[in-house]
Symmetry: C2
Subunit: 359 residues, 2 copies
C-alpha cells in the first residue's frame, strides 16, 4: 500500500508517444487535436487512472477554483443549512469550499483571513464577528472578492446577502399584537450585530404603527457571555435564567418576541416550571424555525429563515463578482423575506374577556 506516485500528464504523454501539451489540450477538449488521437489519449488517461492536479492547474491559471467560507458557528441550524447549500451550489459551479470556523472569536477571524490569503481563494463568504472591519478590508485589498452573509458590516463596501430581519420582526410583532397581547416583551441577544439591530428596528416600527404605549413594552438583552472556551453564545441557558424572572413578573395577555428559537427554549422551560401556560396566558414568537419548533408543546411560532436560498444566492453573487474581477460593480444587497409560521405558542385560547381556567 506504499503510496503510488500520482499519474501526470507526462505519464500519459510518454505512454502514447505525444507531447504533454497535446495531452493537455486533448483532455481539456480544446481544438488542434484530431479526434482519433483525442480518443486514444482519453482512453489512455482512463486506463492509467489520471486525475488532474488542481493545485498545479490553479497555480498557472491564477484562480484557485475555491471559495473560502467563514462561519461563526456551524451548530446554529441557520448556518449549518447554509453550509450545505453553499457547498452544493459551489460544487455545481466548479468551486471547492475551504471552511474556517470563527466561533464568534476575533482571533479565529484573523486566522481565517490569513488562510484565505495563503490559499489565494477566488472569493470569500463571510459571516463576520462584529464589529472589527480592518482585516476584511485587508482581504479585499489583496484582491479577494468578498460577500457578507446574514450579518452586515456597514463600514465595509461589500455585498450582503441575508434576511430582511427588520420586516420579519415587524410582521412577527404585528402578529403578536393581533393575538390580543397587551404587554409586549423583546428578548434579544446583546451582541452588537446588524441582525439584532434590524429585528429591534422592526419591532419598534410595529409598535409605533399600532400606537403601543411605552409602558406596555419592555426590552431585555440576554447576556451572551461564554460559559466555557468552546461554548458559543445563544444557548438556551442564559435566556432561561433571565426568563425565570420574567415568568414570575409577566402579567397575563403578554407577548414575547424572542430573537432566536434557542432562547425561546429557555423561555419555555422557565414558564413551564413556573406553571404558566405558553400560548394561553403568554404568547411567544421566535426566529429561525429550528427543527424542534414544531414539536414543542405548544408548537413554537417562529420566523422561518430561508438559509438554503441565502447560501445559494451568496455563492451566485460571489461567483458573479469573481467573473467580472476588478470592475468595481456597485455594492449589492440581496435580502430574503422570513416566513412567519404560526403555531400554538401565539394563538391565545382565551378570546377577549378574562376567563377563569378552562381545560
Amino acid at each position: 500500500m506504499n503510496s503510488p506516485r500520482r499519474v501526470t500528464l507526462q505519464d500519459i504523454a510518454t505512454s502514447v508517444g505525444l507531447s504533454v501539451n497535446t495531452v493537455s489540450r486533448a483532455l481539456a477538449g480544446k481544438s488542434a487535436v484530431s479526434e482519433a488521437t483525442r480518443a486514444m489519449i482519453k482512453a489512455e488517461a482512463d486506463r492509467l487512472g489520471y486525475v488532474p492536479n488542481t493545485m498545479a492547474r490553479s497555480l498557472v491559471l491564477g484562480q484557485a477554483m475555491t471559495i473560502g467560507v467563514v462561519i461563526t458557528n456551524p451548530s446554529n441550524p441557520f448556518y449549518s443549512r447554509m453550509i450545505s447549500a453553499v457547498e452544493q451550489r459551489g460544487s455545481v459551479l466548479g468551486y471547492s469550499m475551504l471552511l474556517v470556523v470563527s466561533e464568534e472569536n476575533h482571533t479565529n477571524e484573523l486566522r481565517a483571513v490569513d488562510s484565505m490569503r495563503r490559499w489565494g481563494v477566488d472569493g470569500a463568504l463571510v459571516v463576520p464577528v462584529q464589529p472589527e472591519v480592518e482585516h476584511w478590508r485587508r482581504l479585499m485589498a489583496a484582491g479577494t472578492e468578498m460577500v457578507l452573509v446574514n450579518r452586515d458590516l456597514p463600514e465595509l463596501d461589500c455585498d450582503l446577502v441575508g434576511i430582511d430581519y427588520e420586516r420579519s420582526a415587524y410582521e412577527a410583532t404585528l402578529h403578536l399584537l393581533d393575538t390580543g397581547v397587551e404587554q409586549v416583551y423583546l428578548l434579544e441577544e446583546d451582541l452588537q450585530i446588524s441582525t439584532v439591530r434590524a429585528r429591534v428596528d422592526g419591532f419598534h416600527r410595529a409598535l409605533a404603527e399600532r400606537g403601543v404605549p411605552p409602558e406596555s413594552v419592555r426590552e431585555l438583552r440576554v447576556p451572551t457571555r461564554r460559559r466555557a472556551a468552546n461554548t458559543l453564545p445563544w444557548e438556551p441557558a442564559e435566556a432561561y435564567e433571565l426568563a425565570q424572572h420574567l415568568a414570575a413578573d409577566v402579567p397575563p395577555r403578554s407577548g414575547i418576541l424572542v430573537g432566536n428559537d434557542s432562547f425561546a427554549l429557555g423561555v419555555y422551560r422557565a414558564f413551564s416550571e413556573a406553571g404558566r401556560v405558553i400560548g394561553d396566558e403568554v404568547a411567544v414568537v421566535g426566529f429561525g424555525d429550528h427543527p424542534f419548533a414544531a414539536y414543542l408543546a405548544p408548537g413554537l411560532t417562529s420566523v422561518r429563515l430561508p438559509a438554503e436560498q441565502v447560501g445559494a444566492a451568496a455563492v451566485d453573487q460571489l461567483v458573479a463578482r469573481i467573473g467580472r474581477r476588478g470592475s468595481a460593480a456597485p455594492r449589492a444587497r440581496i435580502s430574503f423575506p422570513g416566513d412567519l409560521v404560526v403555531r400554538g405558542s401565539s394563538t391565545h385560547r382565551q378570546p377577549a374577556a378574562a376567563d377563569p381556567g378552562s381545560s
Copy 2:
C-alpha cells in the same frame, strides 16, 4: 480596487537585491542566511505585505496541507460540533479543511472522492453513506490517508474514530429497566449503518442480561425516506407519525429507547397530543443530547456524545497516519464512551404499585 498582483518571493528578492532562494530560506528560518540579511528580508516582506502562496508551496512539497472532510449532514448537531472541532484541531496542526457534504447521497460521495483526489488532500475524514465501499477503496489506493468517523465500514481496512454506541445503548437500556419499566420499545432509524447496529446490539445485550422476555420487547424502525430533494432523514416527522400509533397502544410502565433526539421530539409530540405523560407513564431515552433535550418538558434523558473529542481525535489519528506515510500501520479503532444524562423523561414519578391519576 483593481486586483493588485500578489507579492511573490521574486518581488522581495529584486527589492532587496538578493536571490529568490535566499529570500525563501530567510523566511523559512533555515540556515545559511546571516541574521542581518534575514532581518532585512523579513522587514521587506512585511513592508510589501508578502503572503506565501500555499498552492505553489504544496505543489513542490508534494503535500497539500489540507484534509478533506466528508460529512453527511451538517445540520445534525453531532456533525456540526464535530466540524468545529476538526477545523480547530486541524488549524492548530497547520491543516486547512476542504469540506464536502454528501447529504446521505451516494452520488455526492463520488463527487467528494473526485474532489479529494483532484486536490490531492493529504488525508480525508469520512462519515460514509453506507454501504458502498468501492470509491473509498479507490481513494485509499490513490495514496490518500483516510479515517472513518462515527460510522464504520467493516469491509474497508481503515481507521475508525467514533462512539461506543453498543455500550451506550446497553447502559441506556439498563437505566430504562431500572426505572421499573415493564414493556420496552426500540425506535431506530432504518438505515443500514454501523451506528444503528451497535445500538441495537447494546439494547439486546441489556435485555438478555436482565432476562426480559421477548413478548415485553418491540423494535420499530422509522422509515427514513426523503420528503424532498434537500430533506435529510431523521427529521422528527417520520418518527412522529410512527409514534402516534405507539401513543395509542403503549401500556403504562413502558420505556422507549430512541435512536436519536430528533426522533424523540416526534415521540414527545405524539404522546403529548394523545394526553399521555412522558416520564410518568412512559419513559423515553434518546441519543445525542441535542441542545433542546434539557429544555423539553420533561427534560429528555439522553446519551451525551462527545463530538468534539471525536473530531479532534480523528484529526490526530489522520495526521499521525499522514506523518508515517506508506508504513502500513494496523487498523486503529478509537471509540469514546457516551454519557447518559438522566432527566425527567426517564424518572417515573409513580413508585411501584398502580396509582390512580394524581396531578
